[in-house]
């Protein structure tokens, strides 16, 4: 894999695009192609693809928080839930709020989730490491339980007909939804990639590697941690709103701790810190259980064992993280040493950072 990585890095930008664009087009038309082995036989393939796509979007958002900034967030499903409930509250006939067209709920969901991110982050991001983890876990659970207890949020009864316009869902079939999400993913990838290469991204790397040193060197760590949290929250909320629109039914049963864990697994499996890696991770986590839904009994057993084995043999994830510390790194490296960016051998979340044994 390393040689492929080296060759990829040595390619010029236009050459990389020449490979990527057909790949994206292929992914775009995947539900129509219905490839024989890949197509899920036990459940609807376009719906399955949509599920994979929304997991991928979530993974990108969580990657910003966990992978880029190194903040251990175990309650990410809370942001996802907030996004879904915003979409439900503003479009479902079951809710008492004033109705607005579904597409408007997407930016509103992002905005509200960002507010939640600030509310959650401000008091808690002063905590370190594992304490942050347990507090975020607590928050995720609090959001799920609030959705259950607070009557206007309708608990398990839920909201029906979310995202419908006059009784009809916005897009008639799953394939269109899938394509919308793929387009959004491409857009978000570009935005996040830009952030990575900017001052903000570098600050995140600094915070992740050694927060104390970063603070001493003058990086306003707290501010950038909040940024990471908020951006991650926005992406999570967006994904939640899309999920609500597609499914048409929102209740609190989809937002439990296990889902948070699966999101995290997608990020770590793919390679925390690598935004393309986490896409792969999301594919593994979301797609495999759907592909093997006929052996539903053994599904999650195999999944659990696969997680253990994958982590033992590839702890840095499928695609390890890369240090992108220069804005125009590729050209700089080419000028300096005549070839592409050096790939850091290990994940940026290297072993010595958190002492474990």
């Amino acid at each position: 894999m390393t040689t492929i990585r080296d060759r990829w890095n040595n390619l010029s930008r236009p050459a990389q695009w020449a490979v990527l664009v057909p790949l994206v087009v292929l992914i775009f038309f995947l539900p129509d192609l219905n490839p024989p082995i890949i197509a899920t036989t036990g459940t609807d393939f376009p719906t399955a693809m949509f599920d994979v796509a929304r997991y991928a979007l979530v993974a990108i958002g969580l990657n910003v928080v966990v992978g880029q900034a190194g903040l251990l967030d175990l309650g990410y499903v809370g942001f996802f839930a907030v996004g879904a409930y915003v979409a439900a509250l503003f479009t479902s006939p079951d809710s008492t709020l004033h109705k607005i067209p579904y597409l408007w709920t997407l930016p509103i969901a992002m905005a509200i989730t960002m507010v939640f991110g600030i509310i959650l982050g401000t008091p808690t991001l002063r905590l370190r490491g594992d304490y942050l983890a347990i507090v975020t876990l607590g928050f995720g659970e609090i959001i799920r339980l609030l959705a259950d207890n607070v009557d206007p949020l309708r608990g398990q009864i839920g909201f029906q007909a979310v995202g419908t316009v006059g009784g009809k869902p916005l897009f008639a079939d799953a394939t269109t939804w899938y394509r919308v999400v793929v387009l959004i993913i491409v857009g978000v990838l570009l935005l996040v990639g830009n952030l990575e290469r900017s001052r903000v991204g570098r600050a995140w790397v600094a915070v992740r590697e050694d927060e104390d040193v970063a603070e001493i060197m003058g990086v306003p760590t707290y501010k950038f941690k909040i940024w990471a949290f908020v951006i991650g929250a926005a992406i999570g909320g967006l994904s939640g709103a899309l999920y609500a629109g597609k499914l048409g039914f929102v209740n609190n049963q989809s937002f439990d701790v296990v889902t948070s864990m699966l999101f995290l697994a997608a990020v770590v499996l793919g390679g925390a810190g690598n935004k393309v890696g986490v896409l792969l991770g999301a594919v593994v986590v979301a797609y495999l259980p759907l592909r093997f839904v006929q052996i539903a009994e053994y599904n999650y057993l195999i999944f659990g064992i696969a997680l253990i084995i994958l982590m033992i043999f590839r702890p840095q994830g499928l695609l390890g993280a890369r240090q992108r510390l220069l804005a125009r790194g590729r050209q700089a490296y080419h000028r300096l040493i005549g070839r592409g960016e050096q790939v850091s051998g290990e994940s940026a979340l290297s072993g010595d950072h958190g002492r474990v044994g």
Partner: protein, 331 residues
Amino acid sequence: MSASLVHTQSWIQFDVSGLAEQFWNNTVDGLAQGGIYALIALGYTLVYGVLKLINFAHSEVFVVGAFATWITFYLLGFRSGATPDLSVIEIIGFLAIACIAAMAVSGATAVALERVAYRPLRNRNAPRLVFLITAIGASFAIQQTLKLIFGLNQQPQIRLLQPEPLFKIFGAQVTNIHVILFVAAVLLWFIADYFVNKTRLGRGIRAVAQDPDTATLMGVNKERVIIVTFLVGGLLAGAAAMFYMMRIPQGAIYNGGFLLGIKAFTAAVLGGIGNLRGALLGGFILGLVENYGQSLFGGEWKDIVAFVVLVIVLMFRPTGILGESLGKARV
């Protein structure tokens, strides 16, 4: 009286009179349930103190003990239905056998977990996040295996000891089960505390918790310490499982450990993770708060109250009520 006439009146109530009325009942029940949380929390706190690792699969170590308890009762010839008529000696004997079985199975599971899932990662110097994912994977794997073997539903309840009211505290009925649970939790905690503080192995644990490299230099066998830590955590979880099955005989179900595990972990952090006393304190506090919260706000607020308390405590005291201590020399 405090009951609401129409149940949809409001989704949250503020029933102070109900709380006052049930205060001592809730205290007694809360301490009993809190004992279970405390014993499980000890496992989390020990492993975290030594390895700085949140062992998410500990809930499965617990539930395996619950199944072991059930199987032991079954093999001893007891069946579901009415509680059998046994003398005190017999009850103590059978319970002891079940306890030993549960502790053995849980301890073995914990050690196996360490060997199979965590040690290869430690040898490869994996980042902390990876351990978390492996723990999740192990948790899934164990749960699903139990589901395949024992099925989806709770095992039929087998109970050896019927709760008998013993005495009253301020009007609250205290049963034999309450007393047993409370005493067992404190006793086992005391033994664990003694082990960690007064024995040589315990010193090794504290040394590795404080500074693993120096401890190795000073002659402590780090690998042995780690195995012992997991083992002790597992033994305590097994004991907790047996006592839990005494209180709630329907507890042997494949996903029965999950919520308990999260709550116990919350209790450990509440008291100060890495701190044995904190685990005990956190467990009792959590048990009490859950019950008070139910009486005050309504039955459905049970779980959320626990998490809110956790978040508030961590805001003001980030290292938990009693702070971290396993890795710090104590006077």
